[in-house]
């Protein structure tokens, strides 16, 4: 369903504070927004609840687009820790690199990172999707419960440590698997969902057949004394 958006509104963060911007975004009906001079400020465009289209021209600090619902947020730069943390729906695109914990505990929506993502990408994921064109750091997918993580480059150590039902797809090399994470067969249904995810993330030229799938061995789902020592 398409939503009619209000006219473009331009906000220069060099003139107005982050609180002022967020307050406007919370109060206004869905619209198009251009935000300039973010200068690494934290908590830009957090807690949005309507399908705004927000473009941020530059680098952002921690928690950009945190807990997003419905909105499409684009960052034309790099982002700090916890971009789109606990996102519920909508899309967040990072044209640069993302720091640690990108998409942490996201419940829904799509986070597309054109550069690389640092450690703990998709940590505690709860249904959201994270697609990274580059590589990811260690402990990516740590305790990820559901949702999908796609890595077109390499993944660091302890990939998918203590993972639950989330699925991880990696095209490149991995530094090592975390506890209870194993390589799994890439079946046709996985190739189809991976193709759709890549397409949504603007990476339709990537071939799903080049990826490997990782997930839970489900050996830690119920306590066993032999796992404790």
């Amino acid at each position: 369903m398409s939503v009619e958006l209000a006219a473009l509104r331009t906000v220069d963060l060099a003139d107005s504070g982050v609180s002022s911007l967020n307050g406007e975004l919370h109060a206004a009906p869905a619209g198009r927004w251009e935000v300039s001079n973010p200068a690494g400020r934290h908590a830009i465009a957090v807690g949005l609840t309507v399908p705004h289209e927000v473009v941020i021209e530059g680098h952002v600090g921690y928690y950009c687009a945190g807990m997003n619902q419905e909105a499409a947020v684009s960052v034309r730069g790099n982002c700090g820790v916890g971009v789109a943390e606990n996102m519920m729906s909508g899309t967040v695109r990072i044209e640069g690199d993302a720091s640690q914990a990108a998409g942490a505990s996201a419940h829904g929506g799509l986070i597309a990172i054109d550069g690389n993502a640092a450690a703990r990408c998709g940590i505690s994921l709860k249904g959201g999707d994270v697609v990274v064109r580059g590589s990811v750091g260690h402990a990516t997918g740590f305790m990820a419960q559901s949702g999908r993580i796609v890595v077109c480059g390499d993944a660091g150590e302890a990939l998918g440590d203590s993972i639950y039902e989330a699925r991880i797809y990696v095209r490149g090399d991995i530094g090592g698997l975390g506890a209870d994470c194993v390589a799994k067969e890439l079946r046709e249904e996985h190739r189809i969902e991976l193709g759709e995810l890549l397409e949504q993330a603007g990476l339709g030229d990537a071939d799903p057949r080049e990826f490997r799938r990782y997930g839970s061995a489900r050996r830690l789902y119920n306590f066993d004394v032999d796992d404790a020592v």
């Binding site: 982050v18 609180s19 967020n22 307050g23 919370h26 934290h42 908590a43 957090v46 807690g47 609840t49 600090g61 921690y62 928690y63 945190g66 807990m67 619902q69 820790v81 916890g82 943390e85 606990n86 519920m88 640690q100 914990a101 942490a104 505990s105 419940h107 703990r120 940590i123 505690s124 709860k126 249904g127 740590f142 305790m143 419960q145 559901s146 203590s162 639950y164 039902e165 789902y221 119920n222 306590f223 004394v225 404790a228």
Partner: protein, 448 residues
């Protein structure tokens, strides 16, 4: 059988002497460990005796101080939480709140009973791991929403409909530890709220996924304020281990309220070794916390809520006298709504326990219908009756607190002060930083 020395010890016979080191619980635990090969998990707080509020006494008024008259003279009990930064601080009628306890660990009727009782007395309840249920939101006029490391059920809509937000760093029963919810209690509803498969053991993380340390916490709190348009008070809850530093860092991070949970604080499920051997007693935690607030010029500006082993109005009054703005109760509230009820003795026996001792809360077989997700068991708990009992208990706590405050000449319970207290033991005197009774001696200090 009754022993000659008057003690009642099953198995005692002439000439047999029990070891203080290898006493019967110790021997039982060694035998259990040898049989099962796994650490013991249970609910509740520390059972060992530690210096506590019973080791303090109020001095009461005399010639040098004058008291207030019984129930007739005014003695205010309300408290405002979140005055530092929040646009909408909480104004509660009594200085006793209900601590965070999860739906999952507790049944839905139990959460409802807590909400009903707290609301009747004009105070707040708190969610727990697993998110907010309609039962607790609709029955709690004032509800504090916890942001926990697991982020189970974390939802910005619930964040906005909460009255305050509590960032949980740790809890007194297990500072440094995460949570557990064993598979027996993962019903379809609990699983759906937490986005995990039915029946698996759930480990709640011990660290937040997207922040580490006080500098990050400051930014995290700022994000929460931005999401909620700076309306909600932000609490930071810490388990008592290094309260001087933790409270100072919570203040530095921008907390409106600090919740400090001592080692007697309960848990729904933790390792026994953790419960009994990590953290410090509530009594020992308050003075360093208050010292940090005073040194930062933030005492009474950032409110301090103390929890962990609060049982009576005397405990409430003593915590306030040491500098807390309010206290929080968990285990005591659950007892008030029906936990460990002696009328269920036969049923506790069937599951290998006894009324007054039952602590296998993680197993989901609670005959009182509190620590369970079994619909049949949960239906045994009448939330209206439980709510009335909790309100009665809270009312009693407040009456007792006022009684002691008036005896010390205070027209507001928070006006109680360390000068009103003495200690019965050297240990309690040192920890509470009040003089040993009958002396001016505070161990570690010259005088107060």
């Amino acid at each position: 059988m009754t022993a000659k020395n008057g003690t009642d010890r099953a198995g005692w016979r002439d000439g047999l002497r029990e070891s203080a080191t290898f006493d019967r619980p110790t021997i039982h635990e060694i035998r259990r460990a040898a049989r099962e090969g796994v650490y013991d998990i249970r609910g509740g707080g520390a059972k060992r005796r530690v210096p506590n509020f019973d080791d303090l006494l109020f001095l009461g008024a005399s010639v040098s101080r004058y008291p207030l008259e019984g129930y007739r003279e005014r003695c205010d009990t309300d408290v405002v939480l979140g005055t530092r930064f929040a646009k909408k601080p909480l104004h509660i009628d009594i200085p006793v709140t209900i601590a965070g306890m999860s739906f999952g660990a507790l049944s839905a009727p139990a959460k409802e009973a807590l909400g009903r009782g707290a609301t009747a007395m004009g105070t707040s309840t708190t969610t727990g791991d697993g998110g907010m249920t309609e039962e607790e939101r609709s029955h709690s006029n004032t509800l504090v929403y916890q942001l926990l490391p697991s982020r189970y059920g974390m939802n910005p809509d619930d964040l906005r409909r909460a009255d305050a937000i509590e960032v949980v760093v740790g809890q007194g029963a297990k500072p440094g530890g995460g949570g557990m919810l064993m598979g027996q209690k993962i019903s379809e509803r609990v699983a759906a709220m937490r986005d995990l498969p039915v029946g698996i053991d759930q480990r709640s993380a011990c660290r937040h996924p997207d922040w580490t340390g006080p500098d990050d916490l400051e930014i995290k709190i700022e994000e929460l304020r931005e999401i909620t348009d700076r309306e909600k008070p932000i609490f930071v809850k810490v388990g008592a281990s290094r309260p001087y530093y933790d409270v100072a860092l919570a203040v530095k991070s921008g907390a409106d309220v600090v919740v400090l949970d001592g080692m007697q604080g309960g848990t729904a499920a933790s390792q026994e070794v953790f419960i009994e051997h990590v953290g410090i007693p509530t009594l020992a935690a308050i003075p360093p916390a208050v010292q940090a607030l005073v040194e930062l010029g933030m005492h009474r500006k950032v409110q301090l809520i103390v929890s962990g082993g609060i049982r009576s109005g005397a405990d409430v009054a003593k915590a306030l006298a040491l500098g807390a703005d309010a206290v929080s109760i968990g285990v005591a509230a659950l007892i008030a709504i029906g936990d460990n009820d002696p009328t269920l003795e036969a049923e506790y026996e069937k599951i290998g326990s006894a009324a007054g001792f039952y602590d296998d809360w993680h197993e989901g077989r609670d005959p009182a219908g509190i620590f369970t997700q079994d619909e049949e068991l949960a239906a045994r708990l009448d939330p209206e009756l439980g709510g009335r009992q909790l309100a009665n208990y809270l009312r009693t706590l407040v009456q007792e607190t006022q009684t002691l405050a008036r005896a010390c000449g205070k027209s507001r319970v928070q006006n109680l002060e360390p000068e009103d207290l003495v200690a019965l033991t050297v240990e309690a005197a040192a920890m509470a930083r009040v003089p040993l009774a009958g002396t001016e001696w505070i161990p570690g200090q010259e005088r107060y």
